[in-house]
């Protein structure tokens, strides 16, 4: 399969501290990769490098055939990001938020409106579209966040602990949306601490520790328990 993300000897340092240490990763198009690891293992740093919000100290990173950071704008048009923060304006309505981001992604107005309506419907927020985002529950915020991330129909979805603060039903609803995004052919890379959820959703698991990959394997045949045992073994 074609690699959509290729990192070679990717390093990121903050002063004398290594956040990522010569990381080699290749992710094929259409994979759902769970990015696991203890706090400080480099998961969020890796995601920030993929988004272009941070620059690597060494190594190379190619996303969708585009080289980072030189061709970062081409990459940005291909990625959607969901983090534990909603990245939405709470004094705007859901529709106004999506219109704003549609303008930033240069979606033509008529196409943007159709896309916004379809996404609001898909995430179950069509009836609350004109409500201010500050009146939303945490679960609704994350669903709207998914809609924002999918607005420009990206090929790659990057998620940084998207289940943080969600209750059980909110998490399940988010899982359904993530499965749907993956079923549409998107490559999904999700950093999480929830091993059971990682085993259930992903097709591949990548465990980082001390800034480098210590385990990388398909998730097929894994359940939460087995993954937890593997995780404990490789992260010490």
């Amino acid at each position: 399969m074609t690699a959509i993300i290729t990192a070679v000897a990717l390093s990121k340092t903050y002063g004398l501290t290594f956040a990522l240490r010569k990381l080699d990763v290749s992710i094929a198009a259409g994979q759902f990769v769970a990015l696991l690891g203890p706090n400080g293992s480099g998961k969020s740093t890796f995601l920030r490098l993929l988004t272009g919000l941070s620059r690597a100290s060494a190594g190379s990173l190619v996303i969708g055939g585009w080289e980072m950071p030189r061709e970062a704008d081409a990459v940005r048009a291909q990625i959607g990001v969901v983090s534990h923060k909603a990245l939405l304006y709470d004094t705007l309505t859901a529709r106004e938020n999506l219109r704003f981001f549609a303008a930033l992604y240069h979606l033509p107005r008529d196409k943007a409106e159709a896309r916004i309506n379809a996404l609001l419907e898909q995430v179950g927020l069509a009836r609350r579209a004109e409500d201010l985002v500050r009146t939303y529950s945490r679960g609704m915020l994350q669903r709207l966040s998914i809609a924002r991330a999918l607005l420009h129909a990206p090929d790659i979805l990057l998620l940084d602990e998207p289940h943080t603060g969600l209750d059980r039903s909110g998490s399940e609803m988010l899982d359904t949306l993530l499965r749907a995004a993956h079923a549409e052919g998107r490559t999904v890379l999700m950093a999480t601490h929830e091993l059971e959820r990682a085993a259930a959703l992903s097709t591949r698991v990548l465990i980082l520790a001390r800034g480098t990959a210590v385990y990388d394997a398909p998730t097929a045949g894994f359940d939460g328990e087995r993954l937890a045992a593997q995780y404990a073994q490789v992260t010490g």
Partner: protein, 225 residues
């Protein structure tokens, strides 16, 4: 691949105005500070009428500038705390377009406060503040201050002491703007001949232009890791 520059600028300005019209958090706090400041100065200078007349342009600019600092801090802090600055930077947009979008929003808010302040001060200080030249100086001065203020607020907003740090780094940088604006305003209020002070608006416009070019070039270094 990139979203056109002016589309990004307009989207950000529209979003900032829409949010402010709804919440009225930013302008109302700036305006409240400005009103209190003007009133305090008015009472403090009550006994000396001459000093009061001489101090009008100083009072106006000190008030506008500190109200602007308040607005700049809150405007950028709101973006940073909610992660929305990152959300904008995740889009295929020129970093400078994000800067000009935020700058225009901050400028409109600061100018609104300045424009509302003028009639109030005209009454309180019994001075002819509503005149074309003074409006031009207010426009240019606020623009220059908002330009360097937006860049420096984007820097200081990443620190824990942002509220106190912004005025400390901003006021020395904005000194040429302040100097030119106060000198021009004082001359206008004294009804001095145009030839005596016309260089000040010219200096102000030149400083504005220099700041804009510098901020355009520096903004991406300020916001990216």
């Amino acid at each position: 691949m990139k979203t056109p520059f002016f589309q990004v600028v307009l989207a950000i300005v529209r979003k900032d105005l829409q949010a402010e019209l709804r919440s009225r958090e930013l302008v109302s706090s700036m305006l409240m500070f400005a009103l209190l400041s003007v009133l305090v100065f008015s009472f403090a200078l009550e006994l000396d009428r001459l000093a009061r007349q001489e101090a009008i342009s100083g009072v106006l600019w000190v008030t506008v500038i500190f109200a602007s600092v308040l607005g700049l801090n809150r405007s950028l802090a709101a973006e940073r705390d909610a992660g929305n600055l990152d959300a904008m930077l995740l889009a295929p947009v020129e970093r400078a377009a994000v800067f000009f979008g935020k700058l225009l929003g901050n400028f409109i808010f600061a100018l609104t406060v300045g424009l509302l302040l003028l009639p109030l001060m005209a009454v309180l200080y019994n001075a002819p503040l509503l005149q074309g030249w003074l409006l031009l100086i207010l426009f240019l001065g606020t623009l220059g201050f908002s330009t360097c203020g937006t860049l420096l607020a984007a820097m200081t907003v990443q620190t824990r002491t942002r509220e106190s740090l912004l005025p400390i780094v901003l006021l020395p940088v904005a000194l040429p703007v302040l100097l030119a604006a106060v000198n021009a305003s004082t001359a206008i209020l004294r009804a001095a001949p145009l030839n005596d002070w016309v260089t000040w608006p010219q200096i102000l416009a030149a400083v504005d232009l220099i700041y804009m070019v510098l901020c355009y070039l520096l903004f991406s270094f300020v916001i990216e890791e």
